[in-house]
């Protein structure tokens, strides 16, 4: 098996930690249940393992641009057809437009599988769903009816066109122009770069969402509008019309995710690409931000998914590779390297973070569902605030960790890991982008210290730290979890000091908390991940006392939680020190010293 979906751990995170039954009870999710979710995820696992995973290596050979058309890697077109036929793209797409409208929590588990199986491929449906979300919330009824039924079913795909050569993280610099036409449409011209799946032949049509400026638009972020620009214009009867003036002029040569064509898109080379305004003029950036939470959660899951697949490969190799005797045994016979303490340390470092991250991502997805559907306005608002706080952490922590974890997977393989044919190097290369796109780790960390912590005076952060303390308290009677309980108690104290520092200093001199912002993000990730492992350990203990308990799984969960407490939580102290006492060292260094 090249990839085995971790169904047991997924279901544990969904059911026990993210409280799936409560999510299914939300208005609009009544069709969903724990049993249905299990049935869906079992089939999703078969599809990810049997159809998508086998195309991943071929995908690494990359997409190519031939005569303006993108030729996708071997197997991708067939996988896409099967993916669409099976209806997987519709998991969380709206029911009114042909989707199943299931909770984000359920979809998240399936999306982890797609990303583990073939990240480059999975970006096509992910961006399509982003397009669906943007149009659903902001487009006119006419645009929705034209585009959503075909996007929700994967007949067409969608893209996000934000970045331009001079406008990366700073979208105020966007220069693409949109000129109003007599018929109410617009003509767009300009160049967009880094457009994932910007051109391909998998689907009949591609729907580009494009940020551009109107002629009279104010400077900066308040002058950016959002447009729909289809590759093929759509006739009144829904059939496809003329080819629009938008073309892929080149593909980037990337470090990883080679299967996904990253396009330079040129708009209006022959008179202007016809586009349609989404919502109101000059609100484009705000519209993009409404999808940001889900998109960033999705990228966090991408990191987690690559960590999982790399971990599986490392475990498989560690069990098979026989090398050197067991350091503590008299027996001179060489043993499988999984017996060597440092290899175990590496594998557990991977496993413990993966499980903690999966749990935290699921908790965030449940908050997203509650924020969208909870009938009680207070609960809705509380979950929205919780989600807003968790998003930069899930995105930043899971993707930074994915770089470390996929690197450890290479390390477990020794020299063989560095050889491309082994296959583990691909995960390492693929993972690198996840900490960059959809907002770099630095951007996530600034979001966390500014909008998510300083802006509310640390209210949400302190509420979460309170939860961590409660879990630490509950764990204190659990001897096997002594280190975890202590780590959580100590971590909560340090995190509280960090929150106070961020809140106070942000108003005084924002450069100071900014200098330690990534440390703060990682600290919160580690601590909240530890909180989830603590909850998991407590629940596992309860379940173990029940008749017919899954002893192997639940004991492993507790052992993993204990490792988290002993090896990972101690890093919280170092990260706190670098935030609290490290600003001068960053800011005091003269530019000339670099």
């Amino acid at each position: 098996m090249i990839y085995h979906a971790p169904l047991k751990d997924m279901l544990f995170a969904l059911n026990e930690l993210a409280e799936l039954p409560a999510v299914c009870a939300l208005p609009g999710y009544e069709d969903c249940s724990v049993e249905l979710t299990e049935a869906i995820l079992e089939e999703a696992a078969k599809f990810a393992e049997g159809v998508l995973a086998p195309t991943n290596r071929a995908g690494d050979a990359g997409s190519r641009l031939v005569d303006g058309k993108v030729v996708t890697p071997e197997g991708f077109a067939d996988a896409w057809r099967q993916y669409v036929d099976a209806g997987w793209i519709g998991l969380r797409a709206p029911q009114d437009f042909g989707g199943q409208g299931l909770p984000a929590l359920v979809a998240l588990a399936a999306e982890e599988m797609w990303c583990s199986a073939n990240l480059a491929f999975s970006l096509a449906p992910m961006l399509t769903l982003g397009t669906v979300e943007a149009l659903l919330h902001h487009a006119s009824e006419e645009l929705r009816n034209t585009y959503l039924p075909r996007l929700s079913t994967g007949q067409w795909t969608g893209t996000m066109n934000l970045t331009e050569p001079q406008a990366g993280s700073d979208l105020a610099q966007v220069r693409t122009r949109a000129v109003p036409q007599a018929d109410g449409s617009y003509k767009l011209s300009g160049q967009k770069i880094f457009i994932t799946w910007g051109e391909h032949e998998l689907a009949e049509n591609i729907v580009h969402l494009v940020l551009a400026r109107l002629p009279d638009a104010p400077e900066g972020v308040k002058g950016i509008s959002l447009f729909v620009v289809p590759k093929f214009l759509v006739n009144a009867d829904g059939s496809l019309g003329a080819r629009n003036d938008v073309h892929c002029v080149s593909l980037e040569h990337k470090m990883g995710i080679h299967g996904s064509p990253t396009c330079v898109m040129s708009y209006g080379d022959n008179g202007g690409a016809i586009g349609y305004l989404v919502g109101e003029a000059n609100k484009g950036l705000a519209y993009m931000f409404t999808m940001m939470n889900h998109a960033r959660l999705g990228v966090g899951v991408e990191g987690l998914a690559l960590s999982e697949r790399a971990y599986q490969k490392a475990v498989e190799y560690a069990r098979e590779r026989v090398q050197s005797r067991d350091i503590g045994a008299a027996d001179q016979q060489p043993v499988a390297i999984i017996r060597h303490p440092d290899v175990r340390r590496m594998l557990l470092t991977m496993k413990a973070q993966i499980e903690a991250q999966r749990a935290l991502a699921c908790v965030a997805a449940a908050a997203l569902d509650r924020a969208a559907r909870h009938p009680n306005p207070e609960e809705k608002a509380r979950n929205q605030a919780l989600l807003n706080f968790l998003i930069p952490i899930v995105k930043g922590w899971c993707t930074e960790a994915a770089n470390d974890i996929t690197s450890l997977a290479v390390q477990v393989h020794g020299g063989m890991g560095y050889i491309e044919e082994t296959g583990v190097a691909q995960y390492y290369r693929d993972a690198r982008i996840t900490a960059i796109y959809e907002g770099t780790t630095g951007i996530q960390a600034l979001d966390l210290v500014g909008r998510k912590t300083a802006a509310d005076g640390g209210r949400v952060a302190r509420a979460l730290i309170g939860e961590v303390r409660r879990t630490a308290e509950a764990l204190s009677a659990d001897a096997q979890m002594a280190r975890l309980a202590e780590g959580l108690r100590d971590g909560a104290e340090r995190a509280e000091a960090c929150v106070a520092y961020v809140v106070d200093e942000f108003a005084r001199d924002a450069r100071r908390p900014a200098a330690g912002s990534v440390a703060f993000l990682k600290l919160m990730g580690l601590l909240l991940g530890g909180w989830q492992m603590g909850r998991a350990a407590l629940i596992a203990k309860e379940r173990l006392a029940e008749e017919g308990a899954d002893v192997a799984f639940l004991s492993a969960k507790r052992a993993t939680a204990a490792f988290y407490g002993a090896h990972l939580l101690p890093q919280v102290g170092a990260l706190a020190a670098s935030l609290l006492d490290g600003a001068d060292a960053v800011l005091g260094c003269d530019d000339a010293a670099f």
Partner: protein, 249 residues
């Protein structure tokens, strides 16, 4: 014509099976269970016959514990129209299964029954043959090809040394072999639709069948671990070992 397909809930084929410590049975606690792969082929064949317009309705039947409902939902998601669950916690031997299925067949009156040639847990390979005998129907076992003709069924059977073509008068029974078809991946909308399809419950008492075990399990043990091999110096030594140690010559 109406088709009835029997599906068994078994330990998933990916699971490494272990014997219980007391040697009484296979340990299935907390083990992933799924539909017997040969039965999946049976459901797939029925669905293909329905898609070809040869079958009008597919009824999936499963016998056993509550968890069989999941197996039936899988059959419904694959394309069965409705399901019948004969619920019992009692262990069922092939003869009991055949008798229970006969009772269900008498209620449902299908023209065609398709079952897997064997289940991957006990590998008995008996139920289909026993059921056909009890019903007095013609049977096409180990089918690698099934074609519906006018009032009859053309079945290609995999037999030792080749293939055998038989023509069965309806009603008839088919047991599926591995090469009959490759079951499809289930579509998401069909999983959603499956939970709304009817799933009826029957009890062993209602069917009036004696399911008392007739076999006694003496012991369930795992195969002995493979021993390390030895190098032999020449053919003569090999022959001697085969004769004296392995005692196969």
């Amino acid at each position: 014509m109406k088709a009835l397909v029997a599906v068994k809930r078994v330990v998933d084929y990916n699971v490494k099976v272990r014997a219980k410590a007391d040697g009484s049975d296979v340990d299935i606690a907390n083990v992933k269970m799924s539909m017997n792969p040969f039965d999946e082929i049976a459901v797939e064949e029925a669905v293909r016959l329905k898609e070809a317009g040869k079958v009008s309705e597919i009824v999936a039947v499963s016998l056993g514990v509550k968890g069989c409902e999941e197996t039936l939902r899988t059959a419904l998601a694959m394309g069965a129209d409705r399901a019948v669950h004969v619920e019992t916690d009692a262990p069922l031997e092939p003869l009991a299964v055949a008798k229970l299925l006969k009772a269900v067949v008498e209620r449902e009156a299908p023209q065609l029954v398709i079952v897997g040639k064997q289940a991957i847990d006990d590998d008995a390979n008996q139920t289909g043959q026993m059921l056909a005998a009890l019903l007095g129907w013609p049977q096409g076992t180990f089918a690698s090809k099934v074609e519906a003709a006018d009032g009859a069924l053309l079945v290609t059977r995999e037999i030792d040394g080749g293939l055998e073509n038989v023509e069965l008068k309806l009603p008839a029974l088919v047991t599926t072999d591995l090469r009959l078809n490759e079951p499809r991946f289930i579509k998401l909308p069909n999983i959603m639709a499956a939970k709304k399809k009817p799933l009826d419950k029957l009890s062993v008492e209602e069917l009036g069948v004696d399911i008392a075990p007739r076999l006694t399990v003496l012991k369930v043990a795992e195969p002995a671990a493979r021993k390390a091999g030895v190098k032999v110096a020449n053919a003569a030594e090999l022959v001697a070992k085969l004769k004296n140690e392995a005692k196969v010559l």
